[in-house]
Symmetry: none
Subunit: 266 residues, 2 copies
């Protein structure tokens, strides 16, 4: 035991999660700073989208700091000596609180950057934001394996799929009507952005289903798979997503205002 | 005992309070950053309201960091081994110091965003601010169950109701005269905002009355109900409230200045 970093994970497993969570902190924190400062490089009408993107990565930076500390306390050298205790001590709630705040905001970014008429934007957000919050809330009891109200993980997973499908419907059917007014360039990037969102969201149910059958505490390899999967998905869905939102806002600023375009903005 | 997170609460109760307080930190902190940065997106005459909103959520962010640590120290694994010690160690004073500072400031936001004549604004605030501070000061001895000056919790609760009713009178009777000069849109949102304030304030007396009969230390379930109730009320009354103040300030900026409206602000 002299040369181990953790009582319940191998050195390779422990280091991989440890470094992945640290990568999460660095990605979220510095994307935030970049976006906060870059916000005035787009026209005022697109600034909200960039500010909300910066808010999302800021919220995630806070939670990655907390998760990093929580993971070390639970799985690190001085932490738990069995996998069940480590699993209980590592607070998975941070991820859900993070998603509860950030997933609705990601949809706000996505809609705000299109610069639609106020009424259309408001109508889309009134449906997307509550559905996103509901999707996360319903997913939590499943992931913690709490048999809340007598329902098993699988039932909570299924219930959470209903708002998910509704969001898909709004993004692909309702929102598509609004895309007609966008330039080809913007429409192309936007379609890619919408796919990125779905692809990264896909990691969550896959991880969820993989972990569903284990009735006891997850092994080191399972913790590794879950944490690395969630972290990569988070970095793509928040940092890469936010930077693409910023580049759409730059393109649309140049399209709307020739003077802005020729001066290359601020 | 190996697999418990707390000596005096169940794992579900402990995790729920822990994550709710962390949600409080994240909500307050990032609403603050958003509002501080967004302040120049409204006309100078409405900027004070936005800056005071940012101050309120910043003060609350500080107190949520403190409460999170205080809760962990008292109710967490290494903390108290009986409910009375835990109750005494967890410093409820943070909430009251927070409210003592933030509740008067919430009323400042509410009045400042209307952009009233200086004399009217000053007259309203000279009555609302001291009444709000008094309401919080009188509520504290009741909540801590200190029988200060020989008065029981119920008496302190009753005394605290007097400034509360006075605030209601000023907001619904006095302030309503000033609403006539506002546009329909602003008046509609403002009416909703005033109701939000009252609805969230309603959580405090309800929690207070529910806890009034317990003469001993609160159980885990009671701590859970109190902390979750107060935290949700705080997030709505400070973050949601502050963001609505910001959106009223945006609308009024656009109404006052057509150039501001056409450029979509700064």
């Amino acid at each position: 035991m002299e040369n181990t970093l953790s009582n319940v994970m191998t050195n390779v497993e422990f280091s991989a999660v440890y470094n992945m969570l640290s990568l999460g902190i660095a990605s979220m924190l510095f994307t935030s700073i970049f976006l906060w400062i870059a916000r005035d490089r787009v026209l005022p009408k697109y600034r909200l989208a960039v500010m909300v993107s910066a808010t999302v990565t800021s919220i995630a930076a806070y939670h990655y700091f907390r998760m990093f500390d929580s993971f070390n306390a639970a799985y690190g050298k001085g932490g738990a000596t069995d996998t069940l205790t480590a699993f209980l001590q590592y607070n998975v709630g941070y991820r859900y609180v993070d998603w509860f705040l950030t997933v609705p905001l990601l949809l706000v970014e996505l809609v705000a950057v299109l610069g639609l008429a106020k009424a259309v934007q408001s109508s889309l957000l009134k449906r997307l934001v509550p559905a996103a919050a509901l999707m996360i809330v319903l997913g939590y009891p499943g992931d913690t394996k709490t048999h809340l109200f007598g329902l098993g993980n699988d039932m909570w997973g299924l219930l959470s799929t209903i708002p998910f499908l509704y969001i898909m419907y709004v993004l692909w059917v309702e929102l598509s009507k609004s895309l007609a007014s966008q330039s080809d360039k913007v429409r192309g990037i936007f379609t890619g952005l919408r796919l990125l969102l779905i692809a990264t969201w896909g990691v969550y149910p896959i991880t969820f289903i993989l972990a569903m059958n284990s009735t006891t505490a997850p092994t080191g390899a399972e913790v590794l798979a879950r944490e690395v999967g969630y972290s990569i998905a988070d970095i793509l869905a928040k940092c890469l997503f936010g930077l693409i939102i910023f580049s759409i806002a730059r393109i649309k600023s140049a399209e709307d205002d020739k003077a802005f375009a020729s001066s290359e903005g601020h």
